[in-house]
């Protein structure tokens, strides 16, 4: 069913985009979904006349926590442990998935139900669990769909956003042997029936963490479907994976962030279920896991934290709003970036997680319009961070020799009024020779996929002078 063949890896970004940009169906799916989210978000953000100040406070709380990350992590570890949770630490993706798999596979456990977690995707946990011999089942409906399709997620909060109902109907008919239907209600019922049995027989539940509350050692998980509640309630063992940047000082901060996350992500005042879990099931309680393991992951985060510019990217609460609003994301979708973290924030953090060599093209896949920075609930200066990456990457690369000469020449001319005017006149004189039908100009490098706009007949300076003259006459 998938017509795309290029592996979804950041170094393939150009091919991935080329495959997607001309697919009207895909573009339609993405445009519809992102627009719906933005419209809903706009309505509920209106609740707060001081949304801007909320962003400021949220930003400063995250900054404060990251400035004191060691202290808050120690507090969290101490409280979580005294509530009976076991806290583990992993330096990188491999270590983290090894820790999870070791716990999961203990005592002959066989079935793991997984609720949606971007950190889980980051360390490729589902595949690791499968390699460790477990049956690993994605239980978020969107994740379930793409697991059936054998694809990675294309959006951090709506993983199957790129698929139409018809495509999902076909997929279900093919993989689950049911009659074809494209009715979302029916398809959801089918998934519920199958997954309900999986929840009841699972040995291990694996989840991510949206926020970790330092003062109590609690983890907070936010969702709409109930699959996270089931994954963290039914199995005997619950394993949660989190980056240390999820820390918040206390429940008051949590209340602010919960007010902002639901609104930014899906346009909800609050998501359907917000679980605050503190340790495993307590004496006298009827259900809940006997063991709670929390795996704290570094995987490049301390490197990001030590980088005075990029550290801000750690404030991200993974709401996905910067993707929804991004004109590039709206055209190419999450898979176009080649990373499980797509869009503006993905283009900033993927070079850290996957290595700048592999993801060097990502920061360039942006129009730098700044819409992302404006919408981000924790006010991350996203487009400037993209520019930071561009500078660093270009500096290292030193550029092609011709490009360097051209830039020097431009620098020289642009700084001198007479030269600048003269070259403008030259350009306007010869531009008609490069004319390529009505699309604009044919230019060698830049113009291969885009039309260079034809210059106007008169320069701005000329038009201005004429205007002044006319007004003087009037």
């Amino acid at each position: 069913m998938t017509k795309f063949t290029t592996p979804i890896e950041p170094e393939n970004i150009k091919l991935l985009i080329a495959e997607r940009i001309h697919d009207p169906q895909l573009r339609g799916n993405i445009a519809r979904a992102t627009k719906t989210s933005l419209v809903k978000r706009a309505v509920v953000v209106e609740d707060f006349p001081d949304w801007e100040e909320m962003r400021g406070v949220a930003h400063d709380i995250k900054r404060h926590v990251m400035d004191n990350a060691g202290k808050y992590l120690a507090q969290f570890e101490e409280r979580a442990s005294s509530a009976g949770a076991q806290v583990h630490f992993a330096a990188d993706a491999e270590q983290a998935s090894r820790i999870v798999c070791d716990i999961a596979a203990r005592h002959g456990r066989r079935v793991a139900v997984k609720s949606k977690s971007m950190t889980g995707e980051e360390i490729d946990l589902t595949h690791a669990l499968e390699r460790a011999g477990l049956e690993a089942i994605e239980t978020d409906l969107g994740e379930y769909i793409i697991q059936l399709a054998g694809e990675p997620p294309s959006h951090i909060t709506a993983p199957a956003l790129h698929k139409s109902r018809g495509e999902i109907g076909q997929l279900f008919a093919e993989k689950l042997g049911i009659a074809y239907s494209d009715d979302p209600e029916y398809l959801t019922k089918v998934a519920r029936r199958i997954l309900r049995e999986d929840f009841l027989r699972a040995d291990v539940g694996v989840s991510g963490v949206n926020f970790a509350v330092a003062e109590s050692g609690s983890i907070c998980i936010v969702e709409n479907e109930g699959n996270a509640r089931l994954s963290t309630t039914m199995p005997k063992v619950h394993i949660a994976v989190m980056g240390f940047e999820k820390l918040l000082p206390d429940f008051e901060s949590l209340s602010l962030f919960l007010n902002m996350l639901g609104r930014s992500a899906t346009g909800q005042r609050i998501t359907c279920y917000t679980s605050v879990l503190t340790g495993p099931r307590r004496a006298g309680e009827h259900d809940g896991p006997e063991e709670l393991h929390i795996v704290v992951l570094d995987n490049g985060r301390t490197r990001m934290l030590s980088d005075p510019q990029l550290r801000e990217a750690l404030f991200c609460i993974r709401c996905g709003a910067c993707m929804n609003v991004c004109p590039v994301y709206q055209k190419i979708g999450g898979h176009g970036y080649g990373s499980i973290y797509p869009g503006p924030i993905g283009s900033i953090i993927t070079p850290v997680f996957r290595g700048v060599e592999r993801a060097a093209a990502m920061p360039f896949a942006s129009s730098l319009c700044g819409a992302c920075s404006e919408i981000c609930p924790v006010r991350i200066d996203l487009h400037h961070l993209l520019m930071t990456w561009r500078e660093r990457i270009s500096e290292k690369r030193q550029g092609k020799i011709a490009e360097r000469i051209a830039m020097r020449l431009f620098q020289f001319i642009a700084a001198r009024t007479a030269y600048f005017d003269f070259s403008g006149r030259l350009f306007r004189m010869f531009a008609p020779l490069l004319r390529d039908s009505d699309r604009g100009l044919r230019t060698p490098v830049w113009g291969r996929t885009r039309a260079f706009p034809a210059p106007p007949e008169k320069s701005f300076k000329q038009l201005w002078a004429e205007k002044i003259e006319r007004e003087g006459e009037a």
Binding site: E53, D67, L141, G142, L200, C272, D287
Partner: protein, 234 residues
């Protein structure tokens, strides 16, 4: 060195202000708290009408009753006959004599404390999953979002509000607070000793929009959430 030691060493080496003492950290947090409390979202009223309006907006079915008796008879009609119900063992539910009323309706009802929902008890799990109604009492209601706060305890399992087809929550009107900010102290108490392993905010029926952003309720959790606000519970 272990991953743990490495991580702490790395974090210690890069505190923005290397000398930031615990006192400074406390002062910084206090000033953030101050700004947080000055925000609009914590300054609304504990408005019952707003609660009902917001809950309905989120797809929750809402009712308002003046007394326990009224709530009991409403529930009796709502549930109908021949249904399978699980009840939290809450004094409020006991005082409504729900078990007796439901029995009169030919409903099969069990209390959470009667069911052994041990992690190994597969039968009990399937019993829960086959139930039509799970009935609980909410600890708080948030006026600005229409969400309720529930918690796992000796009297209330996590599953009772999760596995049945419909979740009915009773909410005494005086437990409604303006926003999540006012519920923060409750969350703190619940997370502490003598509290609970699971406090949950429920903001509507289980739902998804994963297929073309079309809203479908009842994915994994209850397809229906009914909240009955009770004005007078004495």
């Amino acid at each position: 060195m272990s991953a743990r030691e490495n991580l702490y060493a790395a974090l210690a080496g890069m505190s923005a202000e290397p000398s930031a003492s615990d006192m400074e950290k406390g002062a910084a947090l206090q000033s953030l708290q101050h700004r947080l409390r000055a925000l609009e979202f914590g300054k609304r009223g504990a408005d019952v009408d707003l609660f009902l309006f917001r809950a309905a907006e989120a797809g929750t079915k809402v009712h308002r009753c003046s007394s326990l008796q009224e709530a009991a008879s409403l529930l009796s009609t709502h549930i109908g006959t021949g249904k399978h119900c699980i009840l939290a063992s809450d004094p409020l539910i006991d005082r409504m004599e729900l078990s007796r009323i439901l029995a009169g309706n030919q409903c099969h009802s069990i209390r959470v404390t009667d069911a052994d929902l041990g992690v190994h008890n597969a039968d009990a799990r399937h019993g829960y999953a086959a139930a039509d109604f799970g009935i609980t009492v909410a600890q708080a209601g948030l006026a600005d979002s229409g969400a309720i706060l529930i918690s796992s305890s000796q009297n209330e399992s996590r599953s009772v509000s999760l596995l049945p087809v419909e979740h009915v929550a009773l909410l005494p009107a005086d437990r409604i607070v303006p926003s999540l900010l006012q519920a923060a102290p409750m969350l703190r108490a619940m997370a502490g000793d003598g509290g609970t392993s699971a406090a949950t905010l429920v903001g509507g029926p289980s739902k998804t929009a994963d297929i073309e952003k079309v809203l479908v309720t009842g994915v994994h959790g209850p397809a229906v959430l009914t909240i009955i606000v009770i004005e007078n519970t004495v």
